[in-house]
């Protein structure tokens, strides 16, 4: 893996972007999603949830995220 050097932290951001459709982008997406899935093991209650607004949907997502985080911490503390 090559080493990249920067004069400023703000220049580093550009390295993480790839061109749409670039095979290296798909590899990066797949690896990132897979790593996140294996480490956090998120679980959501199956079904359909209806909301009058996006904000209401986001509230439920936040609640799921909170529960998943607690479960992740519990799992880690048992190891």
């Amino acid at each position: 893996m090559p080493v990249y050097k920067y004069r400023d932290v703000s220049e580093m951001e550009d390295r993480t972007w790839r061109e749409p459709g670039d095979p290296s982008l798909f590899k990066a997406i797949s690896a990132t999603w897979d790593f996140a899935r294996r480490t956090t093991r998120p679980q959501f209650p199956p079904g359909v949830y209806k909301h009058p607004s996006r904000a209401s949907a986001e509230e439920l997502c936040d609640e799921w995220e909170r529960r998943n985080f607690e479960s992740f911490r519990e799992h880690r503390s048992r190891r």
């Binding site: 703000s10 951001e13 550009d14 993480t16 972007w17 790839r18 061109e19 749409p20 459709g21 670039d22 982008l25 798909f26 990066a28 997406i29 797949s30 690896a31 990132t32 999603w33 897979d34 790593f35 996140a36 899935r37 093991r41 998120p42 679980q43 959501f44 209650p45 199956p46 079904g47 359909v48 949830y49 209806k50 909301h51 009058p52 607004s53 996006r54 209401s56 949907a57 986001e58 439920l60 997502c61 995220e65």
Partner: protein
């Protein structure tokens, strides 16, 4: 998120002729920035026939999950423009929107066809993604908006 499952869902949308646009984190990924996410956000053209196509597409991927029948045009075109579907495995979910407050309707979204590992899908343009994310209050979305601004040189209106 399961990379293959997400691609499979989008392939089913294409096969069934669903009129949709991906926005949110998956759009950000396909526009060039790989980052973790737990959901697929799709904006749906608001018609009963399109919702019907969406159900057909989801049934073909999730083994006729009976919950899919609860996704109705009556809701999505009526009082519930935001519907979340969590498939039986429960390891990711799909956010389905037909409008986003007063700010965005399907016809307001600029989109383009983008390659997803050999599959052409409809994705919001970076400029639209930026407009959608910059006005939100969640720190994660604000971070995405800032990354888009730096990458594409967007200026606020």
């Amino acid at each position: 998120m399961d990379y293959q499952k997400t691609r499979e869902v989008l392939a089913a949308f294409e096969r069934e002729g669903v009129t949709y646009v991906i926005f949110g984190a998956v759009a950000l990924n396909l526009q060039g920035l790989a980052r973790a996410t737990e959901d697929l956000d799709v904006f749906l053209a608001p018609s009963a026939e399109n919702v019907s196509r969406l159900r057909r597409a989801l049934r073909s991927v999730f083994d006729d999950d009976p919950h899919i029948d609860e996704i109705t045009a009556e809701d999505l075109l009526g009082d519930y423009p935001a519907v979340q579907y969590v498939p039986p495995d429960g390891d990711f979910y799909i956010d389905i929107l037909t409008r986003l407050g007063e700010a965005f309707r399907f016809e307001d979204l600029e989109s383009e066809r983008v390659d997803f590992d050999g599959l052409e899908v409809s994705v919001t343009t970076p400029a639209t993604l930026y407009r959608m994310k910059r006005g939100t209050v969640r720190p994660r979305d604000q971070g995405d908006a800032e990354r888009l601004r730096l990458r594409f040189g967007f200026e606020d209106d």
